[in-house]
């Protein structure tokens, strides 16, 4: 067997390892019985029906709203920050970079715990739920947005702005007509990564929930204590398809290209 074929075989096994559990989850969600049999025996959509009931749809919608809000706020904060960090050299810049990337390096768990503690001791427990979650999510998603926008700013050909200036454009107009359109992809990518990171987060959300206001991930986690339930499988598939669909749409519409390398995050 040629070396490349041997490599291909190994790679196939790795793909099976990587995608197997997800595919099995999907298959099991169509099981007629409520056992986690694989291959599934019998076909049923009952679990999927239950997945769309209010019990599951509510947290799903909650996560979606939370994710969109996080994406918008993170991007809004990230844009000026990225500009400042990539184009200005000022005292304290290194500290600001460390502060910005901090949430990436610290476990999200710790950030969540810290926020819970602050709310607890400031007597602001009523903000647990959406508000606290939004704050926490923005904190951990901000670095993604900043990094992605910074990458697109860095890869702008430097002479474009000089060319615009030589043609009579003021700083403001150059920004609006030249820079912004060119970094549009980076902004969209940053927003997308922020959304996905928020939508899939569980470590931080765990500490900031309140009954009735929990993201889908925390709800699934809670339910798992009761063991296997095929409805969970269906819900899990939905929570994968949603971001997948979003990424596919964005890739189609504006392209994600090299930003993938900037998207490393947490588990």
């Amino acid at each position: 067997m040629s070396p490349w074929s041997a490599l291909r075989t190994v790679v196939i096994f790795v793909y099976v390892f990587m995608l197997g559990p997800i595919l099995i989850t999907a298959a099991v969600s169509f099981n007629a019985s409520n056992r986690s049999q694989f291959p599934p025996r019998g076909f049923s959509l009952q679990w999927w029906q239950r997945a769309f009931s209010a019990e599951w749809l509510d947290p799903l919608v909650f996560s979606f709203k939370l994710g969109v809000s996080t994406a918008l706020i993170s991007t809004a904060l990230a844009l000026p920050l990225a500009f400042a960090l990539t184009r200005y050299r000022f005292p304290g810049r290194a500290a600001l970079v460390a502060l910005t990337l901090g949430p990436l390096m610290l476990p999200a768990l710790v950030t969540g715990v810290g926020l819970l503690q602050v709310l607890q001791y400031a007597g602001l427990r009523e903000y647990l739920g959406f508000s606290a979650l939004l704050i926490g999510h923005v904190i951990i998603c901000l670095p993604f947005a900043v990094r992605t926008i910074a990458i697109s700013l860095q890869t702008l050909p430097p002479n474009l702005e000089l060319a615009a200036a030589s043609l009579g454009a003021s700083r403001g107009r150059t920004l609006w007509h030249v820079v912004l359109p060119l970094i549009k992809t980076g902004i969209v990518a940053g927003a997308l990564f922020a959304f996905v990171h928020s939508f899939t987060d569980v470590n931080l959300s765990l500490f900031l929930v309140r009954p009735g206001e929990q993201p889908i991930t925390v709800k699934i986690l809670g339910f798992l204590e009761y063991g296997f339930a095929p409805t969970l499988a269906a819900v899990s598939v939905i929570t994968l398809l949603l971001p997948l669909g979003l990424v596919a749409i964005v890739e189609r519409v504006s392209g994600l290209g090299d930003f993938i390398y900037g998207a490393r995050g947490r588990g």
Binding site: L7, V11, V14, L19, P21, I24, T25, S36, Q37, F38, P80, F83, L85, T86, R87, Y88, R89, F90, L96, L99, T100, L101, G102, M105, L106, P107, A108, L109, V110, T111, G114, L115, Q117, I135, G136, V138, I139, R147, A150, L153, Q154, E161, T200, D201, V202, N203, L206, F207, T217, I220, L224, F228, S236, T239, L240, V247, Y261, G262, R264, G267
Partner: protein, 296 residues
């Protein structure tokens, strides 16, 4: 990931914009948000860890007892050790599994290359909870793995694969594999393909080419991938919670226990601080490796 300091970390010196003035307008809002909701809580956590907790309330008594307690109660020492072992195993597994995949994805000339890369990274779009749930389905006593083994006649009684440390390792290795693949891909991308051909033309078999050329040159990626997987693994909560149990505590589950069940904030905070120190050390190590990445 700390390596990405390079993007933000080095300002592109632009002729017109080299002012040393602080761009207050630009950084005001984000900085306030970060200080208030990130720096402050963490600072409070740090201080809480040095304070005694009584009747679920923080007191003003400064003490090192929290740390002393953690370092003496065997239960938590075991949790530390387990966390370390899990991190190590996950890091190793992910590098061993991730390298062939990364190499394949970088070198393949198939027209499905984009799709294959997407497929390798797609699992990241599912929450850790979802991916771990898949392993729950497979590894539980009445799950797929047992069904398969029974069906093949390889076992006679169902094996309780979970809860166990092994199950946690498999679950985390699976969840974090895309990260190591990405990191290793990053360092393989820049490698000149002719280097392998040159080695072979000089008489190196494929194994020797790998050991003498590929390995040393892609080492930053391997080490980076290992450290990334390791550091995420040690702070993981969901997977140990699902695939593990009370007998297989890890640092993250212990913190959760202290904060929400035992409500001993001081000890919980101390645990969190220890976790943070480990994470920062790893981030520093990764950054140092990144500094050598320009060797090509």
């Amino acid at each position: 990931m700390a390596r990405d300091h390079g993007v933000i970390g080095s300002a592109a010196p632009e002729a017109a914009r080299q002012s040393a003035r602080v761009p207050w307008l630009l950084i005001a809002a984000p900085t306030v948000v970060l200080l208030l909701f990130f720096a402050l809580p963490n600072a409070l956590l740090l201080s809480a860890s040095f304070v005694k907790s009584e009747a679920q309330q923080l007191t003003n008594e400064v003490t090192l007892d929290n740390y002393a307690f953690l370092f003496s109660w065997s239960l938590y020492i075991r949790a530390f050790i387990r966390t370390f072992i899990v991190g190590l195993s996950v890091g190793l597994l992910d590098v061993v599994l991730g390298y062939p995949l990364a190499y394949f994805l970088v070198r393949t000339r198939s027209r499905w290359k984009g799709l294959l890369i997407a497929l390798a990274l797609a699992p990241l779009l599912a929450s850790v909870v979802v991916r771990t749930y898949g392993w729950y389905i497979i590894l539980n006593r009445f799950g797929v793995a047992n069904d398969l083994l029974l069906g093949l006649g390889l076992i006679e009684e169902r094996i309780p694969f979970m809860p166990s440390t092994g199950a946690i390792i498999i679950g985390l290795a699976h969840a974090l594999l895309p990260y190591s693949v990405l990191t290793i891909m990053g360092s393989l991308q820049g490698l000149n393909t002719n280097l392998e051909l040159a080695a072979m033309s000089l008489g190196a078999s494929r194994t020797r080419t790998f050991l003498n050329v590929l390995l040393p040159l892609s080492f930053p990626g391997i080490a980076g991938g290992f450290i990334l997987a390791f550091s995420i693994a040690i702070s993981a909560y969901a997977t140990p919670a699902i695939l593990g149990g009370p007998a297989t505590q890890m640092m993250a589950t212990a913190i959760y226990g202290f904060m929400t069940q035992l409500l001993d904030w001081s000890i919980g905070a101390a645990l969190a601080v220890i976790l943070v120190v480990c994470a920062m050390t790893l981030a520093y190590a990764a950054a140092r490796l990144g500094a050598r990445e320009g060797a090509l």
